[in-house]
Symmetry: D2
Subunit: 328 residues, 4 copies
Amino acid sequence: MNWFEMSLMARRGVAGGREGRRHTLTIADHREFPYVYGPYAEPVLEVEPGAVVTVETHDAFEGRIRSENDRPSEILNFPYLNPQSGPIAVRGAEKGDCLAVRIRSIRPRGEQPVGTTCLIPEFGGLVATGNTALLHPPLPEKVKKVRVDEDGVYWSDRITLPYQPFIGTIGTSPEIEAISSLQPDYYGGNMDLPDMAPGAIAYFPVNRPGALLHLGDCHAVQGDGEICGVALEMPATVELQVDLVKDHAIAWPRLETGDFLMTIGSARPLEDAARIAYRELVRWVAAETGMPEDEAYLLLTMCGRVRLGNMVDPKYTVGAAIPRAYMR
Amino acid sequence: MNWFEMSLMARRGVAGGREGRRHTLTIADHREFPYVYGPYAEPVLEVEPGAVVTVETHDAFEGRIRSENDRPSEILNFPYLNPQSGPIAVRGAEKGDCLAVRIRSIRPRGEQPVGTTCLIPEFGGLVATGNTALLHPPLPEKVKKVRVDEDGVYWSDRITLPYQPFIGTIGTSPEIEAISSLQPDYYGGNMDLPDMAPGAIAYFPVNRPGALLHLGDCHAVQGDGEICGVALEMPATVELQVDLVKDHAIAWPRLETGDFLMTIGSARPLEDAARIAYRELVRWVAAETGMPEDEAYLLLTMCGRVRLGNMVDPKYTVGAAIPRAYMR
Amino acid sequence: MNWFEMSLMARRGVAGGREGRRHTLTIADHREFPYVYGPYAEPVLEVEPGAVVTVETHDAFEGRIRSENDRPSEILNFPYLNPQSGPIAVRGAEKGDCLAVRIRSIRPRGEQPVGTTCLIPEFGGLVATGNTALLHPPLPEKVKKVRVDEDGVYWSDRITLPYQPFIGTIGTSPEIEAISSLQPDYYGGNMDLPDMAPGAIAYFPVNRPGALLHLGDCHAVQGDGEICGVALEMPATVELQVDLVKDHAIAWPRLETGDFLMTIGSARPLEDAARIAYRELVRWVAAETGMPEDEAYLLLTMCGRVRLGNMVDPKYTVGAAIPRAYMR
Amino acid sequence: MNWFEMSLMARRGVAGGREGRRHTLTIADHREFPYVYGPYAEPVLEVEPGAVVTVETHDAFEGRIRSENDRPSEILNFPYLNPQSGPIAVRGAEKGDCLAVRIRSIRPRGEQPVGTTCLIPEFGGLVATGNTALLHPPLPEKVKKVRVDEDGVYWSDRITLPYQPFIGTIGTSPEIEAISSLQPDYYGGNMDLPDMAPGAIAYFPVNRPGALLHLGDCHAVQGDGEICGVALEMPATVELQVDLVKDHAIAWPRLETGDFLMTIGSARPLEDAARIAYRELVRWVAAETGMPEDEAYLLLTMCGRVRLGNMVDPKYTVGAAIPRAYMR
């Protein structure tokens, strides 16, 4: 049996994992882009469980960094960063449900060089920031534009990196808060987790009627931690399949692939992100297999895998995973 | 010369520190209470710089914990906690200005026992929480109701604590975010800092037209860190004098008293909150006295004072202060 | 009744808080100075409970920074920093006992300017360090020499700071480890806590026969957090009264004054230092007063006081205190 | 060309990566086992660069946990835990050199069930501990004994885990400190990093004449973070090849395999461990390839890989790695 048949989406989704109607959401369909995850913007699209949606996304800079001579500090206008596509309402979604999002493909979009990365003052994992507030002057800014296609990321004459695309920012709306799309949290958001990639099914808690799916910030490739703060950012076309698991409250995002089950936590300090992810995973393993929590804890001590998403955003993100083979 | 004459409010405020018109904002004036700090709710009052405003506030539980037999986990309906009074718009306030709020008095309000504290599951500084996510079952809940008047907090037969009231949650609106009133951040919010008390002038960055002042969550007394997560909560009547400093951008809240100047940072881990506060203080001392930053850093190493606000909220809060005597 | 009569030292000490024989330990009595807290160096003095010991201490730089033109990075030879006086063996001390040290006086010693502070590359609370390892080049070094006497610290033409001396580094030996005198931990060490001052009684766990008291690193004055990493360092003459509480294991250092009882924790991140201190204080209050732990927790939420020692050493130090008046 | 020929050990080692004399160090060769990493114990063996050493190691409990009915809290006698084999002196090693250790094999040793894991009170990543000091009573203890051979780890009827052995604790002596073998730091120690496995070459700073190699604490398998605090512990026979790189100071341990180059940092909070590792890696990549540090920083943002070692010891351990293919 294909792993997808065993997924929560296929087993418990309203559409049972079957593809429904096709929808498209383009850049042009947006009058303005949300820069927050929240319930105060009107949905730009409504879909039903099972819908397959093709979504165009901006890069995190809304395309404003065009040349290696640009200075990010002059161009970027905080907090109007990381524009999201959406929100997309999912019919029938209510608080206490779980939104399932199968990521089918991510393709680069627009003119070459499609990829952008840069060093931004007071931002990144190895520099002083607004939180780790030190007296050093910022390091010099720098912009790098990179050609990207589905065969590779052409970093330099000597180095071609693999094309390993994923969605940097994706999730549902909080219940009453509207939180910057620069931040990850319990509803998803700016997790910058490379496992949020084609082939995976992601699950998010539903906190509002319609769930209000937002997404954006696709990356062509990224190392663990997104350490300078900016991955290989690109405008993209994303194909998603959406489903809804009724009455299935989850506290934090989850993810399934053919290889593993993953829980995702976001917090500071970094150990708290890992604690959230591992506690959620202990609970998930215990619930699915029936083993007591202390046995799940021992088992994960032997076979748990940790993926560092970002170590640069307002909260850091960690995924904790168990190989599917040990879910028994 | 009185210290107030030397304060930023008196020297630079639009109203020059002079009292203007009197306003009142009662509980009954609110149709609903904001549970977020944000720009999406309509102001319930508009005032001009110099206004003296008497504001009624709910306690953090909106008065729902009435007896020591109540169970907080059954009564409290997250995220509808810590209701705020306001927002109050201040005429003429624009992004880049600084809102000055002089706290003139805080009086307990309502029927005795006015004060409430409690142990809430998964909340507090010495227990596992949603962030410091551990496998322990929660500690038992507990509610304590306490008589409070302006002479004392009648804790038990043996112990009377001093009445040292302050505003637990106060600040302006973020520019586009709407953030839970349970959280502190750069705009103020749930700092739970005991120095936010009568006699002090607090300063907050203005991020939106009108500034949108919110406040609530008054405490009759609190130790450093608010360590169980809940201070001696009380409904209160607060008298504030509001002023506006034009074109005076500050990154984080500040506070003046006759004794000291304080900067306030909120972050996790706790050292980042202290770094924010101390970096802001280095900058403030350098700007006011003209000494180079490295000299201000050395001086604060000798005479800086740290006040721990909360160590329980989504971000922790630290105030760093310099005695007024050394601002020369 | 005098508070000292109610102290643990007076009530439970082998010498009952009474002064015994006088001893002197000079700089010249040391052939070499310990740079670690550990059991591998021979005691330089043995005393009995009740002993009053006058101890000369070096400053943290062993007197090598002599002029404002000196460059710390060239002079300081890590790890040979923060030389300690001692170890002093206390007759009869065994693992599981508690060493009581009453601090009677601290006087500056040597030629003026007696006081030294400085900025050291990669060291301090507001700069990148070996732990908070960032890519910024270090800030410029700087040395400041300051005249100090028992009336004041003559910081500049405009600023005289109070003389508020304390012992920066003091404690007992670990059982089998030998840990740098730059670090604080459960046995004391480099706590840099301003409350370790004349008038206080400090308590340390005994982990080795003889307890092996080390001390050094006196400060003429220091702000909370010792934020640049170096207080006003001075060579000093310290007078101590030593006592021994048999069979009284404590997990972390404690301190009594006429005003308060304090527990001391050292850890990273800073919230863990505060958790240690507050948990120890909950336990101490519960043990002394007989109230249940959850009541002590609630009480400390209302009246606990936090003192930040250092926020620059390998572990950060926090003292948590309760006013003596509420110990009932 | 084989990757080993390109390794630092082969290119720069005194023995040029060639195997020299064979030595054996058995359990019986030790009169007592070091429980600290330090310079105060006599070496039990001296070898020359190039030596191939077969070392027997105890498990972390010195074999004292024999049955699933044992109670760790009664058996374990802190700080006499994690006994190390050694120290082994390496002829010619001096401060400023770098010790290279090629791990050739790790085999389980002793009677079945060879493997032990357990839940220990106040220890682990998802429970309150001595540092994350909370008021919860500890979770129940639990011991699990597991059969292990070189084909697998026979966890339960349903689950067989792969045999993926590594050395949990290994490193050199600090210069003057003697630090518990439960702790990792700049010299190595209790890193619990699964990449410290057969096939890898590890590098450690030399701080003392002879380097003083210690090792122990082999694990049959472990998940990222060693989240309950105890991996699958086993007594083992380890074969190492030792070499010495003269005048090659490194600040933190490093590691090479055929696939990647890794730097290792240990600190709290966890982000500081990652910062150390990534900063060291930026510097290593820049030094080896000649690219500027800011380009190495950008490159690692795209291709860096993070491995969480332990998240339970007194310092947490993170490895940051770059695929060998991008070292150009």
